[in-house]
């Protein structure tokens, strides 16, 4: 072979390689999109814009919750170079060994990514530190918002927020680690409205994660949308008053506006200052609160189940009247051998029986409701009667979960045929087995919210609106339909009037069990006392009421644990609440009553023998 023709071989090799490279470059640069996308992801970072959480107001425009800026000191270890550590420690007011510990922790997390160095420094510290921070590269301040409660009350209603946990993140993909979410109260119920929508800012970063400018000049950025403002039905002045009245006592107060179902106040005692469960303080305070034997975190108004006691007689009376087994002038002797009672003249009408709260009277009423002589066997008869009775009681909102806009509401319990069949065996029980239900004792359980709802139903003479907190949501016109639907209980108005007569008598007539519920002559209060038996100690004091009698504006239920007779404690508390709401003051003559209530400490009452 002619050696010089080898030049072609060598040249060919050069050419082939060149073509190969060009082909490869063509593939990589022009044909394949993958690298373009990868270059974007290398270089682009998304910075989340957190929206401000929605504010909450009371019915009169008083601010209940707002957001306060909190400042976290962040650090990116790689960027920290040549700083005067001692000076920084003095500025931050921490010891050098603490500083080193925190710094090492940040380094272990990542040299390039920011991590929290100091959480929630006060705004005063922030001002001082911010001025000097330029001397310490690698450190910067990140603002967050925390909830602040200017009124220090309504903790159970408002609830609190906390960091979202892993389970929730998996179920609700909107949330990311580090987000806040409402955990209880209205913060929980209206989480989706309050949280707003996150925005995103896209920035360019270099290989060390340093921000270098806006991606595509901010074209792809989205604005954060602040959370909706919620106006609640709460009357914060009334609420605070209720909380004061209930200090050093256990129990609850629920106040509703009957013609709308709007909740004016919801007190659970003992309670706590909502500012205790904010930000850094949660870690310290939550264990204290949850271990407290008096259960301040427990919302008694929604979750404490009690047997209703004598206030239930109102329901029994109305069912009896509606069923036609009694008339408004039915009379029964106070036969204490049937069931115990206090001394009083014979009740010769329904109204009187309500006024004097006669137990044997209702023994008879209930017997007639249950055993209406439709069949011969009393067992079968009771079954039929109980079925009708359970059905009717539930229509009042008992034994079911009221759809109020708060989480964790108990439904209480109304026993029915199935229950007793299981308990005693079918055909083995009759009225005489379950007669304690006649006076609101036995296997029934109600929560204070349901009691207040009963009061509202009576005030309305036959229907109720589901009690609720939401009055108005910013950017939306209507309140949810379920809150504006009239729920009729299926008992005629005139029977209500009969019972209301009795409730009037409770307060104003002799023999009435709650004279302490009087306010003054210009306001007519109707109420019913209850004394719920407590096998573990002193009886519970219960009172439901509404006022004024004509065109009622407020319906109230008060429940005080271990306080003895309903008329002694619950009734005066109810009347003070009503007076405060209707007149925005307490009349002089009632101040002694008020003082007595405020001074009372019923937490450690010695049980009666």
């Amino acid at each position: 072979m002619n050696l010089s023709s080898r030049k072609f071989i060598v040249g060919l090799i050069f050419l082939v390689i060149g073509v190969l490279f060009i082909a490869r470059l063509f593939t990589v640069q022009v044909l394949d999109d993958k690298y373009k996308l990868d270059s974007d992801s290398n270089v682009m970072r998304e910075i989340t814009q957190y929206p401000a959480r929605g504010l909450i107001y009371d019915r009169n425009g008083e601010l209940l919750v707002y957001n306060e800026a909190a400042y976290d000191l962040m650090v990116i270890p790689k960027q920290v170079k040549e700083i005067d550590t001692l000076a920084l420690c003095t500025l931050l007011e921490i010891e050098k060994d603490v500083f080193l510990e925190k710094f090492n922790k940040a380094k272990k997390y990542s040299r390039y990514k920011a991590s929290t160095f100091l959480k929630e420094i006060s705004s005063i510290s922030y001002a001082n530190i911010q001025e000097q921070l330029f001397q310490y590269p690698g450190f910067f301040v990140q603002t967050r918002t925390l909830r602040k409660y200017p009124r220090n009350s309504a903790a159970h209603i408002l609830g609190y927020i906390g960091e979202v946990n892993q389970n929730t993140i998996e179920k609700k993909p909107y949330y990311k680690s580090g987000d806040y979410i409402g955990k209880s109260g209205l913060e929980y119920s209206y989480e989706e409205l309050l949280r707003g929508t996150r925005g995103v800012k896209r920035v360019l970063v270099d290989v060390h994660n340093r921000e270098k400018g806006s991606y595509k000049d901010g074209e792809a950025d989205t604005m954060a949308v602040t959370g909706s403002v919620i106006k609640t039905t709460l009357d914060i002045v009334l609420q605070e008053y209720g909380e004061r009245l209930m200090q050093n006592k256990k129990g609850s107060i629920v106040a509703i506006e009957p013609k709308t179902g709007e909740i004016l106040a919801l007190v659970s005692a003992p309670n706590y200052d909502p500012n205790m469960l904010v930000g850094r303080a949660v870690g310290k305070n939550y264990p204290i609160l949850s271990k407290d034997s008096l259960n301040p975190l427990f919302n008694r108004a929604l979750m404490a189940k009690y047997p209703p006691g004598s206030i239930f007689k109102t329901v029994q009376a109305m069912i009896g009247l509606e069923q036609g087994v009694i008339s408004e002038n039915s009379s029964f002797a106070c036969n204490k051998s049937l069931v115990g009672c206090h001394n009083h003249p014979t009740a010769t009408s329904v109204a009187a029986s309500v006024k004097m709260s006669c137990n044997p009277y209702y023994y008879h009423v209930y017997k007639r409701i249950l055993q209406q002589r439709r069949v011969k066997s009393i067992f079968k008869d009771s079954e039929l009667g109980l079925a009708i009775w359970s059905e009717q009681v539930k229509k009042f909102g008992f034994g079911q979960r009221l759809e109020t806009d708060l989480p964790s509401i108990k439904s209480g319990y109304v026993p029915d045929v199935a229950f007793y069949n299981k308990w005693y065996g079918e055909g083995r029980w009759a009225f005489s087995t379950i007669y304690s239900l006649s006076i609101g004792q036995g296997e029934m359980g109600v929560i204070p919210l349901q009691m207040a709802n009963l009061s509202a139903t009576i005030a309305n003479k036959g229907f109720y609106y589901v009690p609720h907190f939401v009055k108005n949501i910013e950017k939306s016109d209507t309140v949810p339909k379920k809150f504006t639907t009239k729920n009729k209980v299926g008992i005629s108005e005139k029977h209500f009037e009969t019972v209301i007569d009795g409730m009037y008598g409770v307060v104003y007539e002799s023999g009435g069990t709650a004279r302490r519920a009087r306010i003054h002559d210009s306001i007519v209060v109707c109420g019913k006392t209850g004394t719920a038996q407590n096998p573990h100690g002193e009886d519970h004091s219960v009172f439901i009421a509404f006022a004024p009698r004509e065109n009622p504006k407020i319906a109230v239920a008060v429940y005080v644990e271990n306080a003895g007779g309903g008329g002694t404690w619950a009734a005066p508390i109810a009347s003070l609440m009503i007076e405060q709401y209707l007149t925005d003051s307490i009349a002089t003559r009632n101040l002694i009553k008020e003082k007595r209530i405020l001074d009372a400490n019923l937490l450690n009452v010695i049980p009666k023998k």
Partner: protein, 510 residues
């Protein structure tokens, strides 16, 4: 009589222009690669782009000086220059400083110089001198050994400096020797060896032995009929293999089978021609045995001799990262299947963990560089992102942006248009140099010319190949473009000696 007009009138201006174009491209792209807003002037000496200008200017002065020197200087002093450089290579082992793991630099104050850069043209001169002597024939064993020595000594010394990249450059001289008469079979042999090397690493020694065995058997038996039949048989066999494997393995095995077959075929044909009669059979068996030994030795050397970071360079190239990612995805699917026992799930989890660990190691090693390099180049698209607008470059995602990976900046900012133009300039330069070398009257000049073309080509091959993922990460500069005084000057000297030789070619007596 020497006057300036004469000196410059015979210079090959196309080559000089190509040189200037590359130098300018280099300077501008170094500016883009390490652009610092605080020092935005391209003439800023404190930055690399300002410094590069200094090197360029000095380089031009050196070039000028070389053009002034009589070409006989180079032919006469080839050997002394070579020996001096060889000495410096030894001395640097003793007196030099270690930079980036290689003891290759002399340092005088802040001034650094790398003798291995100068060894390139020194060896070229020495080789040219040797091969231009009377009675030299590449077919002689003595010639082959001497040539190997001239090339090998500097290579070994550089290897001792721990600079594997620069050592590898000496493989370029094979083109020179080939042109001067070295058997082409050696070239083919080389290609076959590389092919088998790569395939063994991808598929494992056993598979490759099987493939080669079958290839050889077929070729051997088919040779009884004719070379054409053997060729067809190889293609058919390859097709069958491909069909059998196509669902699992990539096209590589198809090409591999064809490639091995073809090359084996050529070797057999050559052997047949050289040795008539029974000898052919022995050659056949010998070749087969040697192949097996070679395949196993590859496996051994790879796993037991090479260091971890060197292994990763190669495995990364072979797509290990993508393979691992695919495997992890597959395992994740398996893990999430219903009805899987707890132990199985746990062992799958362990598997995923181990693979993720390997992946991380891979990425932290050189896999990262290649990936970033490809991303930078690939994201340039057809027309590039624009001067100074390369995001990957701007934000330092590619390491060694102004030196080994300078091509990434070009790719990202000038796109396919830019890279295509650059390819054309380089290939143009190489082919021009070949053309010039062929028109030389003296063997010295021709050999030297081929050496220049080959060395430049080799740098081009490895450097750019590395950035586009076709060659392992070996740090050698891109001629005239990468930042650095030493490399720029040594390439300039290398080139301009040849330009000078070429300009005086007509003065050579036949």
């Amino acid at each position: 009589m020497r006057n300036y007009k004469n000196i410059f009138s015979n210079i090959d201006w196309p080559t000089v222009l190509l040189y200037l174009a590359l130098v300018l491209i280099g300077w501008v792209n170094i500016y883009a690669a390490v652009y610092n807003e605080d020092h935005h002037s391209i003439f800023d000496i404190s930055q690399r782009y300002g410094k590069q200008l200094m090197w360029i200017v000095l380089g031009l002065i050196i070039a000028f000086v070389i053009l002034l020197v009589d070409s006989h200087f180079f032919t006469s002093f080839a050997i002394p220059i070579y020996l001096a450089v060889l000495l410096s290579l030894l001395l640097v082992l003793v007196f030099g400083v270690k930079i980036n793991g290689a003891t290759s630099w002399f340092q005088f104050g802040s001034f650094k110089i790398q003798p291995s850069e100068f060894a390139k043209f020194a060896t070229s001169l020495a080789l040219a001198k040797y091969l231009s002597a009377i009675n030299i024939n590449m077919k002689d064993v003595k010639t082959k050994v001497m040539a190997a020595l001239i090339i090998g000594l500097p290579a070994v010394f550089i290897l001792l400096q721990n600079d594997t990249g620069s050592t590898l450059v000496y493989a370029a001289f094979i083109f020179v020797l080939y042109r001067e008469g070295l058997s082409g079979n050696i070239l083919l042999f080389g290609i076959l060896a590389i092919l088998i090397f790569v395939l063994t690493l991808i598929f494992g020694p056993v598979e490759i032995i099987l493939v080669t065995t079958f290839s050889y058997i077929i070729i051997y038996s088919m040779l009884k009929y004719s070379a054409k039949t053997a060729l067809i048989a190889v293609l058919v066999f390859s097709g069958l293999v491909y069909g059998f494997y196509s669902f699992e393995l990539s096209n590589i095995i198809l090409y591999a089978t064809i490639g091995i077959g073809l090359i084996g075929l050529f070797i057999f044909l050559v052997a047949q021609k050289e040795m008539k009669g029974k000898g052919v059979h022995y050659v056949g068996v010998l070749i087969f045995v040697l192949t097996c030994a070679y395949v196993f030795s590859i496996d051994f050397a790879f796993n037991k001799v090479l260091k971890e970071h060197q292994r990763t360079r190669i495995t990364v190239l072979l797509g290990e990262e993508d393979k691992l990612i695919e495997q992890i995805e597959g395992l994740k699917l398996k893990r999430d299947e219903r009805g899987i026992s707890k132990e199985d799930k746990q062992s799958i989890r362990d598997d995923i963990g181990a693979k993720r660990f390997s992946l991380r190691e891979l990425r932290q090693g050189n896999g990262w560089n290649i990936k970033q390099s490809l991303i930078a180049i690939g994201s340039g698209g057809f027309a590039g992102k624009g001067f100074l607008e390369g995001t990957q470059t701007k934000f330092d995602f590619v390491p060694e942006q102004s030196t080994d990976f300078i091509f990434c900046t070009i790719g990202e900012e000038w796109g396919f248009i830019g890279t295509f133009v650059l390819m054309c300039i380089y290939i143009g330069l190489f082919l021009r140099l070949l053309y010039l070398a062929e028109r030389q009257r003296s063997i010295f000049s021709r050999v030297y010319g081929y050496a220049v073309a080959s060395i430049l080509f080799f740098h081009f091959l490895i450097n750019i190949g590395m950035t586009i993922g076709l060659a392992p990460v070996i740090g050698i500069p891109l001629p005239f473009i990468s930042y650095g005084g030493s490399s720029l000057w040594s390439f300039t000297i290398l080139l301009f000696i040849f330009i000078k030789l070429d300009s005086e070619r007509l003065l050579v007596l036949r």
